[in-house]
């Protein structure tokens, strides 16, 4: 990973976008809390936050989709995790470990395709790969290994649907719109998207 490839402007963009998605996630935790309350009597409370899981990966997905550079997804997730840690999450530095898994999980497929393909199918593959890897991480770290396969399957499906919605549909939609509006001129994505030229 060459850090020289990132200008200060790029780093600030990643970090500020990470904070933004963090704020969006906070906005959703209210809905997640309600869902948690409804599902807990059935033992499914931990599932309440799964529908919003895809928002966790958005910083990484956005960065790698816009910059198209090796490491951009991992760096974005790591920065997002450090920022979350600074804002006072009760998991503290453990978040950084999850951030690393999320970043690697999302960027893996794109890296295998040598940062050349960013179509819908690739992004969906990324979302699925990321969901599977984070659940494997949960199996080990959160002890989900003790939970019945059926419940884990429901969890994985909800997580995949959420990841596809937020990271393979909403994120490219937003990034393409930004590129079209000419906001992302300095980034790799701008070369692939025709911009509206206003004179």
């Amino acid at each position: 990973m060459k850090t020289q490839a990132y200008k200060l402007k790029d780093v600030l963009m990643i970090a500020i976008v990470a904070v933004l998605f963090g704020v969006v996630y906070l906005g959703c935790t209210y809905a997640g809390g309600v869902l948690y309350g409804l599902l807990t009597p059935a033992g499914m409370g931990s599932l309440g936050y799964e529908p919003f899981y895809g928002i966790y990966f958005m910083a990484g997905a956005f960065a790698v989709y816009v910059m198209r550079k090796p490491g951009s997804g991992v760096i974005a997730e790591l920065l997002a995790a450090i920022i979350e840690c600074l804002l006072g999450n009760y998991f503290g530095p453990i978040i950084i470990l999850s951030g690393l898994v999320q970043g690697v999980g999302f960027e893996l497929i794109i890296a295998l395709k040598r940062y050349k393909k960013f179509d819908r199918a690739t992004l969906i593959a990324c979302a699925v790969c990321c969901s599977v890897l984070t659940l494997v991480y949960n199996l080990f770290i959160s002890g989900y290994n003790k939970i019945a396969i059926g419940v884990l399957a429901i969890m994985l499906i909800v997580r995949i649907v959420s990841a596809i919605l937020f990271d393979a549909i909403i994120t490219p939609l937003l990034a393409n719109a930004l590129a079209k509006a000419g906001v992302l001129k300095g980034y790799a994505i701008a070369q692939d998207i025709p911009q509206d030229i206003e004179d």
């Binding site: 850090t3 020289q4 990132y6 200008k7 200060l8 402007k9 780093v11 600030l12 963009m13 990643i14 970090a15 500020i16 976008v17 990470a18 904070v19 933004l20 704020v23 969006v24 906005g27 959703c28 948690y36 807990t40 009597p41 059935a42 033992g43 499914m44 409370g45 931990s46 760096i75 920065l79 450090i82 920022i83 840690c85 600074l86 804002l87 006072g88 999450n89 009760y90 503290g92 530095p93 453990i94 978040i95 950084i96 470990l97 080990f140 770290i141 959160s142 002890g143 290994n145 003790k146 939970i147 019945a148 059926g150 419940v151 939609l173 937003l174 930004l178 509006a181 906001v183 992302l184």
Partner: protein, 252 residues
Amino acid sequence: MKLEKLNPSVKMLVVLIAVIMLSFQYLVFLNLTVFAAAILMLLFFSDARLPKIAALLVPAFIAAFGLFMMGLYYTRGSSILALPPPDAAMEGIAAVPYMVRAAMARNLYSALQLSTRLLAFAGMGILFALTTPGEDFVLSLMHQCHLPPKFAYGILAAVNLMPSMVREFRQVRTAHEVRGIHAGPLSMKVLFTMLVNSIHWSEAEAMAMESKGFFADAPRTFHKVMRVRWYDLVFALAFLGSLAAMMILVKY
């Protein structure tokens, strides 16, 4: 000796190693001991006060309770999903709650294993979060973990931008409401506007930092340098050593 004095990177490494060590076991008593030790250390060896600790403990307990209920119902091998359908000839409908209760009794221990592990992790996470000033943490990442300065100062710039961002987020939503467009937290219109703002901020901020003489890849001096001292190593060895000893000695 206060926990605040410890080097943040060492503290982070200790917590991460402890988390990985604890992930290999399912000892309820050990998990609870780690949790209690973390909270006691906070109370006696730091400036963190009870209300702040409680504010972080509440969401941790809520999450642990969710995991507890999940373990209670759906432990692998004894999940209530795997119960046979009620046998009408035998005891009728009344047999179902009985079987559910029996499964829950069997699952109680694994439910405790799952939820206490989360508490142990949260205890250590809170220990770190409440004794580590954010700026020290980032500086230490730069000095001990070789995080390049542009990332370190980029993180600090973004974090300090957060209050303005929350305000702007609210403003953009209100601006949409005024025009009769309902805008939830996930509204694409609001997100788009916020992203445009964010990218403009990042450009303006980079220009501001560079015009004040911040050069990303040039050698620089530091106003405050975080160092690893002897007591950091003592803390790491004592913490991880006693954890390893407990993992061998504690059987529950």
